[in-house]
Symmetry: C2
Amino acid sequence: MTQDRQGPLTGIRILDLTRVLSGPYTSMMLADLGAEVIKLEMPEIGDDSRHFGPFQKDESAYFMSVNRNKKSITLNLKSEKGKEIFKKLAAQVDVILENYRPGTMEKLGLDYDTICQVNPGIIYASISGFGQTGPYSRRAAYDGIVQAMGGIMGITGEKGGKPVKIGSSIGDIIAGMFCSTGILAAYIHRQNTGKGQYIDVAMLDSQVAILENAIARYTVTGKVPKPTGNTHTSIFPFETFPTASEDIMIAAGNDVLWSKLCTALDCEELITDERFSTNPERGYHHDEMFALLCERLVGKKADEWVKILDDAGVPCSLINTIDKVLENPQIQARNMIVEVEHPKAGKNLIAGLPIKMSLTPGAVYKAAPVLGEDNRSVYKEMAGIGEDELEELKKKGVI
Amino acid sequence: MTQDRQGPLTGIRILDLTRVLSGPYTSMMLADLGAEVIKLEMPEIGDDSRHFGPFQKDESAYFMSVNRNKKSITLNLKSEKGKEIFKKLAAQVDVILENYRPGTMEKLGLDYDTICQVNPGIIYASISGFGQTGPYSRRAAYDGIVQAMGGIMGITGEKGGKPVKIGSSIGDIIAGMFCSTGILAAYIHRQNTGKGQYIDVAMLDSQVAILENAIARYTVTGKVPKPTGNTHTSIFPFETFPTASEDIMIAAGNDVLWSKLCTALDCEELITDERFSTNPERGYHHDEMFALLCERLVGKKADEWVKILDDAGVPCSLINTIDKVLENPQIQARNMIVEVEHPKAGKNLIAGLPIKMSLTPGAVYKAAPVLGEDNRSVYKEMAGIGEDELEELKKKGVI
């Protein structure tokens, strides 16, 4: 953990009103790349996710994992004084980011049009469940709802089984990722023209955008895509197999890899077997192929096979549980698990940055903030509020 | 479908060597937002995914879905003349994007360091399975492999069941999304300093970055996270329920929603039942709660319940199959399914843009290119190659 903000976005300042996951994921990505993110939270309470377990010495490990590298200030946006201070801050930032339900920022009198009056060049991004427009706009959404509605659940699950929700909240995360791209695109446009704009990202839209070829498969063939288990719809073999211990994933994406696989499994006779000699043939005779490979694979344990197949150049993997992910030598070599020292909670492990840049690498340089950690410095610098006034505002519940 | 390139990235030019999904997803996002993407493909063969089914009048629906808005040129990078032409093009673009296995661009003599000699400000982004560094760097990866190795499969699946692969290739897509953010961040840095750089994004790293709280849950509690089916680890109820027809997803994320849910299900007595009156209590008595709600829910069909719960303000959804996704009124209202007219294949439906911008909205303005569609215009404009020379290069297999 370094101690200085660094990265390509140094100099960009973001006022971040977001809570829980989608918006905080966006601002985490931008903060990791060097943007100054000022997280604005409700006095006393803070981001809802500060109260999500598990806790490490009373600090939420959930909160800490997506709020590293950010500052925290408290501000009650329902108070008149709070709104006034908010506008002062808004006038001095490049980006405002919020993920309230559509209509909330208007009700607070802090919507895009209003903020444009104090900062005409502002980039103002909103993430919501269903978006700012359309018949469902004002409804509340949760990750599980958009995963179900957006189609990804309908194509995930065991073959012939029920739809299965993805085990992390990708309904939120994917929306957060699209929003970060949108904000940077708008920033580039503003560098060229001086003009800011409003960005509207919906969790539901974002789910539709990651369906890959499922829409094409349906519209071209008329067949409704179903859960396909751990297989691939058009590459064979590309699936999980049983072994003498746990299952492994093997992906032999072309005929050369098929040949290497058969050699490694000591069943060379299958290479030229006309039922399996091409990918379409292997698809057509999939069940026979699967049965024959299983016969070989149940003879050794998973980790033995992984070693043999790795040496043979056949793509394969154990199906890692999280403890194994943390021990994986490639993941460690890539610095994808980072240790952070939190002033209250102590050391904790979080995911690192997946964007590796040669000249301006980002970094995890600071643990997640405690609530209001940066009140003093931010309010002094950006709103000219000194110690006495700060005390007064605190007493009144404004900060 | 409009006919002009538009969006915040107008003026940015990208030379795109990527194949199949991860890289093409990156360049699709940037092309949707207005960047000029020149897709460079092998003569005669083209992107591997041009040969992936299903086909619509001989055109791959898979290819068409992620390559809209791009130009296509053909160039054989193994030929000396091809390398020479490549460098001419490289000198005139802002970004080079490639997703070959690490080492391939070096072998071709077209790696970052070499390209810097003709274009010192170039932003050069690589997506690979495991990244440019680390012990697995040179290995081939496929989506299924990184889903298995990166941990997402290990937390996805039915409760007590086996790990399940996500039904779309998020191993590729997530890496493509991170790469688009990285490229724009590097572009901003270049606007500020004139300096380009190299970006290295790995599919495996990207999987680790979307595990949400699973790492925190494991490191804090020591318990290895397992597939949790369609439930939430800390919100109750937040799961799928049976009805008189198919299952539905219901998410009552707080006590107010719990109360609304019980009222809508005509079981108000549960609101104040001390086993269920708070979220922690509902978690503790989950199985009893689930059984009681099921008793009510099996009394009506899924779409009847969705109407009742929608009216009551309780977040819920059918678990949509792809046909239902296409019919969803919110998804339609948000223009998330776009009809494209392809010159050969005719009309086809693809996912729209999830980043909605007020001033410079992107657009799907053009169908995916046929192979080499833009050879004439690109080579004339960027390499000064006229008709005769073009014919000559074609005969020699250079383009």
